[in-house]
C-alpha cells in the first residue's frame, strides 16, 4: 500500500484546509467556479440550500474517486507506486495529459446520476424542488474544478483524506455563499432597482461587494 493512503493528517492541516476552502479562497468568490448555479438557483433560499447540499455531496465523492483514478490509472508507476496499466505502457509513461479531463468528467457524470437516483428514492420533495438543476451539477465548474485542483500535485501532493476533505469544504464554502446570496436576492426582489439592473446584474454587483468582504480573510492563513 503506498504511503499516500496511510498517512494521517494532523489537526492543524485540517483547520488549514477548512479555512482556506471556505473563507480564504472560496470557490465562488475567489476562484470563479460554480457561477452558473450561483446565479441560477439563488432566487430562493430553500432551493439554494438543497442545491448546496447536493453539490457538496457530489464534490466530496468526486474528490475521492478522482484521486483514486489519478493515482492508480493516470500517474506512471514510477511516481505513484502502482498503475493498472503498467503492463501495457510501462512504468514511466503517464496517461495524465491524455485521459485526465475525459475520465474525470465520466466519473462526475456517473456520480451525479447516482445522486439523482438516491435522492429520488430518499428525499423526493427535495428532488422535485431541485428539478432541472440536479442533472446540471454535471456541468458545474466547481465539481470538476475541485477534482482538478486536488490533483495538480503543486505545491504538494495531497493524500487521499486531504483530497476528500478539501472537496468537502470546497462544497461547504460554495453552500455558504449560495445561502448568503439567496438571502440578499430575496430582499433585492422588492427593492427599487433600476429596470435594466433588475435580476442578474444587481446580483453580480452584490457578489462584487461580497467578494470584496471575503478578501479581508486573506491574512487568516499565514
Amino acid at each position: 500500500m503506498p504511503v499516500a493512503m496511510t498517512y494521517t493528517m494532523g489537526i492543524g492541516s485540517f483547520f488549514t484546509i477548512m479555512l482556506s476552502m471556505v473563507l480564504v479562497s472560496n470557490f465562488v468568490l475567489s476562484r470563479f467556479l460554480g457561477l452558473c448555479p450561483f446565479i441560477g438557483v439563488t432566487k430562493r433560499t430553500d432551493s439554494a440550500v438543497g442545491m448546496g447540499m447536493a453539490v457538496t455531496f457530489v464534490m466530496t465523492l468526486a474528490s475521492s474517486v478522482t484521486w483514486v483514478v489519478y493515482h492508480y490509472v493516470l500517474l506512471p508507476q514510477s511516481e505513484s507506486g502502482f498503475n493498472v496499466f503498467a503492463g501495457i505502457i510501462g512504468s514511466d509513461t503517464s496517461l495524465v495529459s491524455v485521459l485526465k479531463t475525459v475520465s474525470y468528467i465520466l466519473v462526475i457524470a456517473t456520480l451525479v446520476q447516482l445522486v439523482e437516483l438516491v435522492m429520488r428514492k430518499t428525499v423526493p420533495a427535495l428532488y422535485q424542488a431541485l428539478g432541472i438543476y440536479l442533472p446540471l451539477i454535471t456541468t458545474n465548474c466547481a465539481v470538476l474544478g475541485v477534482a482538478l485542483l486536488n490533483t495538480t500535485d503543486t505545491p504538494e501532493v495531497l493524500t487521499f483524506w486531504a483530497a476528500t476533505i478539501q472537496g468537502f469544504f470546497g462544497g461547504v464554502g460554495f453552500m455558504v455563499v449560495m445561502i448568503l446570496m439567496s438571502g440578499v436576492r430575496e430582499r433585492l426582489e422588492v427593492m427599487p432597482v433600476p429596470e435594466a439592473m433588475k435580476g442578474v446584474p444587481i446580483a453580480f454587483i452584490c457578489t462584487a461587494l461580497m467578494a470584496l468582504a471575503f478578501t479581508g480573510f486573506g491574512g487568516v492563513i499565514g
Binding site: I105, P135, F204
Partner: protein, 238 residues
C-alpha cells in the same frame, strides 16, 4: 434551411456572395442578439477568471471557439447515430476529447506564462455551458454546415465579450493594454484585476446590454389593456 437563406437563394446574387452574407449574419447574431455572455449569460466561470489581461482573454476565446466549432461539427455529423436517451454522455465525451486536444496544443505552442494564467480553465471548457448548450440546442438538430457557422458566430460573440471585459479590466486594473503602459502616471486600481472587480464589470456590462436591448424592445412593443366602463366615462356604443 433558414428563411433568409432561402430568400438569398431566390435573389440573383452569386453563390459565394450569398454564403458570405449568411456567415456575416450569423456573426452579428452571435455577437449582439444572442451574445453568449451578455445575453444568454452562459459560461461565466472562464469569462471572469481569465479576463485579467487581453492576451489571456484572447487565447481563452480561441480555445473555447476551437472546441465549440469542432464539437458542433462532429455532433452534427453524428446526430443520426446518437440515440436520444444517451445523447448527454455522448456530447460530454466528444467535447472532452476536443478539450484534451486543445489542452495539449496550448501546452505545446503557447508560453508557460499564458498556460499558468489560464490554469485549470482550459480543461474546464468541458463543462462550459456555451458549448454544451449549443450542442444540445443546435448541433443535434441541424446540418453540419449550419452548425459550423453557428459555432463560428457564437465563438465570435464569446471573443467579443471576452475582449470587452478584459480590455476594461486590464486598462483600469493594471493600466496597460496588451502589456503596454497606456498612461505613465496612472496608478492602477488593483481591485479590478481581483475577484470583486470582475463581478462589478460583468454586472455593469449586463445592465448596460439589458438597457440597450430593452430600449429597442420598448420602441416596438405596444402595451394596451382595456378598462371597465363606469358611469363617469364617455358613453361608447358596444
Amino acid at each position: 434551411m433558414p428563411e433568409f437563406v432561402r430568400q438569398l437563394v431566390r435573389s440573383r446574387r452569386g453563390r459565394h456572395e450569398r454564403a458570405a452574407v449568411w456567415v456575416l449574419r450569423e456573426l452579428v447574431r452571435g455577437a449582439i442578439k444572442e451574445n453568449p455572455t451578455f445575453v444568454l449569460v452562459l459560461g461565466l466561470c472562464p469569462t471572469l477568471a481569465v479576463t485579467v489581461s487581453v492576451v489571456n482573454g484572447f487565447w481563452m476565446a480561441v480555445a473555447a471557439t476551437g472546441v465549440l466549432i469542432s464539437s458542433n461539427v462532429i455532433i452534427s455529423g453524428l446526430r443520426k447515430f446518437i440515440p436520444k436517451e444517451i445523447r448527454i454522455p455522448c456530447f460530454v465525451i466528444v467535447i472532452a476529447g476536443f478539450v484534451t486536444i486543445t489542452e495539449m496544443l496550448m501546452k505545446a505552442y503557447l508560453s508557460d506564462q499564458i498556460n499558468n494564467a489560464l490554469g485549470i480553465f482550459i480543461p474546464l471548457i468541458v463543462v462550459n455551458c456555451i458549448i454544451f448548450g449549443r450542442a444540445e440546442a443546435y448541433a443535434y438538430s441541424h446540418t453540419v454546415a449550419e452548425s459550423l457557422v453557428d459555432g463560428v458566430g457564437t465563438g465570435f460573440g464569446f471573443m467579443m465579450a471576452l475582449m470587452l471585459i478584459s480590455g476594461v479590466r486590464e486598462l483600469t486594473g493594471s493600466g496597460t493594454i496588451l502589456g503596454l503602459k497606456v498612461w505613465p502616471s496612472y496608478r492602477p486600481a488593483y481591485i479590478m484585476v481581483m475577484a470583486p472587480g470582475a463581478f462589478l464589470v460583468i454586472g455593469l456590462f449586463l445592465g448596460m446590454f439589458r438597457a440597450l436591448g430593452a430600449r429597442v424592445a420598448a420602441r416596438r412593443a405596444v402595451v394596451s389593456y382595456e378598462a371597465p366602463v363606469t358611469s363617469k366615462d364617455a358613453k361608447a356604443e358596444g
